[in-house]
């Protein structure tokens, strides 16, 4: 994967498959303290300890877990090659939390890339699910919560309406400009 944002899209897809109704994506980064953390949390069906082990090891994957495949191992590799790590906490019936920690200044750091596009596509392709996206830097932070948007839009207008998606895209862009010190 050329961008971490693509890994995020891939991992979030596992949450969709796990029948989550709410997926929270958090990116916390700091140049000052030299880290980038990504959390992907869902309220899906969760995994047993054995299943968690098997999604981390690509060669342990059996046909039953084939849907998980290489997604987690690729994300883990991206984290570990910077000197960071990946952890998965999961409870059957409660949900799963994937946390990847990166050392930002590492020469082997994969750029975060277009995370806004990832969030927008996830909303576009799963308009019945709710997403919360948090992004923070040394300068500031912002949150997009589709539950708030849904309150404004009402029941009849789906989040996947083109004009709504354009609004979401514009909002994400404006907010990230601010926390990256532009605008």
């Amino acid at each position: 994967m050329r961008e971490l944002s693509l890994n995020v899209m891939d991992i979030a897809q596992n949450s969709v498959t796990a029948n989550a109704s709410l997926i929270t994506i958090t990116v916390n980064e700091s140049d000052k303290d030299d880290f980038l953390d990504i959390f992907i949390e869902d309220n899906g069906k969760g995994m047993t300890k054995e299943q968690v082990q098997s999604v981390i090891d690509p060669f342990f994957t059996t046909r039953k877990t084939r849907k998980v495949g290489l997604g987690i191992p690729l994300f883990k590799m991206a984290a570990e090659q910077t000197g960071g790590y990946l952890t998965i906490e999961s409870q059957v019936g409660i949900g799963t939390k994937v946390h990847a920690h990166f050392v930002k200044s590492s020469v082997d750091m994969t750029p975060l890339g277009d995370i806004n596009s990832t969030v927008k596509i996830l909303i576009q392709c799963n308009p019945c699910l709710d997403f919360v996206f948090n992004h923070s830097t040394d300068i500031g932070e912002f949150t997009l919560d589709t539950r708030e948007l849904r309150e404004v839009l009402g029941e009849d207008v789906p989040l996947s309406t083109p004009d709504v998606l354009e609004w979401i895209g514009g909002f994400l862009e404006e907010q990230s400009d601010i926390i990256y010190g532009g605008a």
């Binding site: 897809q13 495949g69 596509i121 392709c125 009402g154 009849d156 207008v157 514009g170 404006e174």
Partner: protein
């Protein structure tokens, strides 16, 4: 600045449009393969290009969505187009540059772009 008030205006406009079209049985579906293989091969810009092209032409009743891995990872990014009453068409090794032609020729004018389909590669 994007405000919630702006979103309210979008809602009111969208509600009007919704009343006009309702559920159309002729809706066309564009399915972009977005499993690990598809994403790694560049499916995201392809999906974005479809969304933009469809919005630009203001095409109604075209749904763009994602699908999983259909087992031909070497041909990713893969895009399937389903038009009711017609055979499903599978486009392979898609790029954002190819999208405009597929939308124009296939979705609008109903001529399959044969040279981009899986049949042309096999």
């Amino acid at each position: 600045m994007k405000s919630l008030a702006e979103l309210q205006a979008i809602r009111d406009k969208a509600k009007l449009e919704l009343n006009m079209r309702h559920e159309n049985p002729d809706a066309i579906r564009v399915l972009v393969g977005m499993a690990t293989c598809g994403i790694a091969a560049g499916a995201r810009p392809v999906l974005n290009a479809f969304t933009e092209e469809v919005a630009k032409r203001n095409l109604q009743d075209v749904t763009i969505t994602q699908t999983g891995c259909i087992g031909i990872c070497q041909f990713e990014p893969v895009v399937e187009i389903e038009i009711p009453g017609e055979d499903k068409v599978t486009y392979v090794k898609m790029t954002p540059e190819k999208v405009a032609k597929v939308v124009n020729d296939h979705i609008v004018n109903r001529n399959v772009v044969t040279e981009y389909t899986i049949g042309a590669y096999k």
